[in-house]
Amino acid sequence: MNEAFHIFGKDIRRLWPIIVLSMTIHIIGYCIALSNIDPTSLGVFNSELQGLFQMAPLARWLIVFLLSVWVIHEDRAIGDRAAWLTRPISGGQILIAKVAFIVAAVSVPAGLASVSVALWLKAPLLLALAAGTQTLIVTFETALGFAVIAVVCSSTNQAGLILAGVFASIVLFTYCLFDIGRLKLPLSPFAVSGATYFLVACVLSTAVQAAALGHQYATLRTIRTIIMAAALISVANVGIRYWPINLWPYARRAALAPTLAEQLHAEPISSLANFVERHSTFSPAEVTISIPLRLGGASPDRVFWVNSVTSGLTMDDGRTVSTVTQPQGRQPQFDNEQGMLSVLGFRPSSAPITRDVDVATVRVSEFERIRGQKGRLTTQLQLIEGHYSLISRLPTRLGAEAKVDGHLCSIQAVLFSNGHCELHIQFVQLTSLIVDPNQLRAPFPSYVLINEARKEFSSSQLMGRSGNGRPGMTFATDRMAFASTYNLDTFALAGKVDAEWLSHAELCVFRIESVDSPTLNLSITSDPFVVPTKQLTQQVIIINPDGTKTTLER
C-alpha cells in the first residue's frame, strides 16, 4: 500500500497544475451558470454568449478526460516499453494509485465545488452533501470510463479518437437495433427507486471498469481487455435494467397518501381518434394513434406520467394490431395548472384532466391495410403519480431573486411584446438522487402568476428554454409568456397581463415530485371508430402586419 501511495504522490507532483486548473474550471463553470446575466442586454452577442454558456460544462468534462488519460499514461499499460514493467512495481499497486488519483484529484474537487454551491443556494446540509456525493460519484464513474479508454491507448490523441469512436458506435448500434431493427426490450418486472437504480448503476459500472483496468495492468493484453470490457458492459447493463431489489427507499419530504387505483378512472371522451403520420429521415414512417382521455378521481394537486401503454386494435375483419409504447419526455402527460392553485390554497375546479394520449404506433404499411375499417381500441395505461410542490414566490420585477432549499429562482428580464408579457426566469436546483430522487423525472419547474389583490391568475406558456444539467445540479433559463388572466374562483377569462396587473402579481414556482406509490394500471376500451381513408390537411392562415393573408397547408 505504501508503494501505491508513493506512485500516487508521483502522479500528484506531475499533474498538480492540471488539478488546480480543473478546480478553477469547476468553480468558473458554476459561476458562469449562476451569473445573473440578462440575455436581453447582451445585444448582438446574445446567441454567441448563450452558446458559450452551453459549452461551459464541456470544458469541465474535457479537463476530467485529460486528467484521467494523462494519469494513466504516466504508467502506461500498453506495449513493452514502460519502465515500470521491469521494476518491482505490480500492476495492482499502479491500479490502486490511479484509482486513488481519480478519487482525490478528479472527483473530490468536483464534489466539493458542488457542495459549496449547494450551501450557497441555502440547501440543507444533508441535501448539499448528497448533491456533492452524487457529483463526486458521477465524476468518478466518468473519469474511470475515460481511464479504461486510456489504458488501452498509447497517446492522448488515440484516446480522444477512441472515445469519439465508442460514442459513434453506441449511437450507431442503438440506432440499428432499436430504430431500424425496432427491437423492444422487455420492461423490468421490478419497480426500484431512482436512488437504487443510481446506486446499482454506479456499483456495477465501477466493477466493470475496475475489472477492465485491472485486467490490462495485470496482463497487458489489450485485445482481450477490450473484448472483456465489452462483454461485461453488456452484462452490467442487463443487471442495471432488471435489478430486482430495492436497496434505497425514497426519503420523501412530505408523506402524501397515494391515489388508490380504485378511485382513479380514465375514459375516452368520444369516438374521436387522431391519426398522425410521422416521417423521419432514417427510420420508416409511422402512424401514431392518439385519443383524448379524461382522467378523474385524483386529488387536484396530482399529476401523472404515462409510463407505458399497451394497446390492442381489433378491426372488424378480425385483424388485431398490438403495440407497446413508452412515451418519452419528462413533463407529465396529465398535468393541471389548477393543481398548482390548489397547492396555494385556492379552490380548484372539480373538472377532470383531459389530455390527448398517444396509445398506439403502427407502421404506415400496416396502417394502409386497416384504412377505412371499423375498429375498437383496448388500452392498458400504466401511470406514475406525482404532485406539485411550491418552491418559492417572488415579486414579478426585474432582478427579483429567491434562494431557498437548494433552489435559485430569479427574474432576469420582463418584456411586453405582441400583447403578452414575457418573463425570463433563471432556475437552478440541486438534483440529488440519493436524498431526493424525484428530480430525475421532472427536472424543470412550472410557473403561475397570482394577483391576489384582483383574485386573478395567469398561466404560463413556454417560449423557450436553454439549460444544461451537470451531476447534482440543473440550470435553466426559461422564457415564459403570460397573456390572459383568469378569475381564481370561477376560472373565467378576466383580462390581459399588463404592467399594472404585473406590479401586484407574484411569480409562483413549482416543482413536481413523485408520490411514493405503486404504478397505477388503468384499462380503457374506446368506442368503435373508423380509420380514416382521407388525408386531412391542416390550413394555417397568417395575417401579416400589412393586413394581407398567407395560407400554409400541411
Binding site: N2, E3, R14, E74, D80, R81, A83, R87, I89
Partner: protein, 309 residues
C-alpha cells in the same frame, strides 16, 4: 549455477520468427555479450527473458524462475537498461532516484551518491533535457544502487561518445562482482567494446543462435589459416569439412581458410594436410569482430541461397 537458461525459445510475429528455437545458458557471474546485426532478435530475446514478451514456444528461466512467473521479488534483483524504455521524462535525476529508491530494499545510498559524482550528472535537470548519453547514465544510476544480481543492457553503447562510454562501463564494473556473483548480459553490435568486457559470447543471426560459448574457448577455436602450396586452390574439395567455415582463393598457390575447430591445433593441421597434401599452414588468431563478420557473411550467403531456391 546458471543465471539464465533458454530452451527452444521461439517468438513469432505472424509468420516471421524473431527468435527461432534458441537454446543457451548464461552461468551466474559471467558477462555475456549477445551479438548480432540489426533485426537479429537480440532485443526480442532480452524482452522474452524479462517477460515483456511471451514466448510462442519454448521456455526461459531467469534466476531460477520461469520468465512467465517473474514476480516483484525477482525484479528487485534484475536491472534492465534500454534506450527505448519510457521513463517519467519530467523528473529530474534526483527525483528519479527518490522515486525508485523505496521499491528496492537493498538500495545503497552511498553507491548512488558515488555514481552520481562519477557520472557527473546534473541532478536538477529533467530527463527530457538530458542528452542521450546522459539519459542512459541516469537510467543506469537508478539500477546499479540496488546491486542487481542480473543486469540486462540492450544496446547500451550506441551513439555514446568515448567519455560517456567509459563512464558507463566504469559505473557498471563498480558493482559487478563486488559482493555477489552478478551476471551481465549486453546486447550490442559494438563488438570491440564488448570484447574487452565479456567472458561469454552468443551470436544471433536472423533469430537463430549461431553460437554461445566462453570467450576463451571461442578465441581458441577460431583461426584464419593462410595455406600456401603448389596449385593448392585447385585441390580444394567440392564439399568442405564442417570445421572449414569459409575459404578464399586470392591466388592459385594461396588459400585463406577460416577454421572453427582449432583448439587442438596439431589435429586440425593434420586434417587440413590430409585433404590438401603438401602445404605450408600459417595460423592467425581471430578477433571477435572477425569471427562475428564471418558468421554474418555466411548468414547472408545462406539467406540469399534460400531466396534463390
Amino acid at each position: 549455477m546458471n543465471a539464465i537458461e533458454c530452451e527452444h525459445l521461439t517468438r513469432a510475429y505472424g509468420r516471421a520468427l524473431a527468435v527461432n528455437d534458441v537454446t543457451f545458458a548464461v552461468p551466474a557471474g559471467s558477462i555475456f555479450a549477445l551479438l548480432g546485426p540489426n533485426g537479429a532478435g537480440k532485443t526480442t530475446t532480452l524482452k522474452l527473458l524479462l517477460n515483456l514478451l511471451r514466448p510462442t514456444s519454448g521456455l526461459a528461466s531467469v534466476l531460477g524462475c520461469e520468465t512467465t512467473r517473474l514476480t516483484k521479488a525477482h525484479f528487485r534483483r534484475i536491472g534492465y537498461v534500454a534506450e527505448d524504455q519510457i521513463y517519467p521524462e519530467w523528473m529530474t535525476v534526483s527525483q528519479l532516484l527518490d522515486y525508485y529508491r523505496p521499491f528496492y530494499p537493498s538500495w545503497d545510498d552511498a553507491l548512488a551518491r558515488r555514481l552520481t559524482v562519477m557520472f557527473d550528472l546534473p541532478e536538477d535537470r529533467p530527463l527530457k533535457k538530458l542528452s542521450r548519453g546522459m539519459r542512459m547514465k541516469a537510467i543506469l544510476l537508478t539500477i546499479l544502487p540496488f546491486h542487481p544480481e542480473l543486469l540486462l543492457l540492450d544496446e547500451p553503447f550506441g551513439g555514446l561518445d568515448p567519455q560517456v562510454r567509459d563512464d558507463f562501463i566504469r559505473g557498471m564494473l563498480e558493482t559487478v562482482g563486488s559482493d555477489r556473483p552478478n551476471t551481465v548480459i549486453i546486447s550490442s553490435h559494438d563488438i570491440a567494446e564488448v570484447e574487452q568486457l565479456a567472458d561469454w559470447v552468443g551470436i544471433l543471426l536472423g533469430g537463430k543462435l549461431i553460437l554461445a560459448e566462453p570467450m576463451i574457448s571461442l578465441q581458441a577455436r577460431f583461426r584464419r589459416l593462410e595455406i600456401v602450396g603448389a596449385s593448392v586452390a585447385s585441390r580444394l574439395p567440392d564439399r568442405l569439412p564442417p570445421a572449414w567455415l569459409k575459404v578464399e582463393r586470392p591466388a592459385s598457390t594461396v588459400v585463406q581458410l577460416i577454421h572453427n575447430a582449432f583448439t587442438n591445433s596439431v589435429a586440425a593441421e593434420a586434417e587440413v594436410r590430409a585433404i590438401l597434401g603438401e602445404i605450408k599452414i600459417k595460423p592467425y588468431p581471430m578477433t571477435l569482430r572477425e569471427i562475428f563478420l564471418v558468421h554474418s557473411d555466411l548468414g547472408r550467403i545462406e539467406k540469399k541461397g534460400q531466396r534463390h531456391e
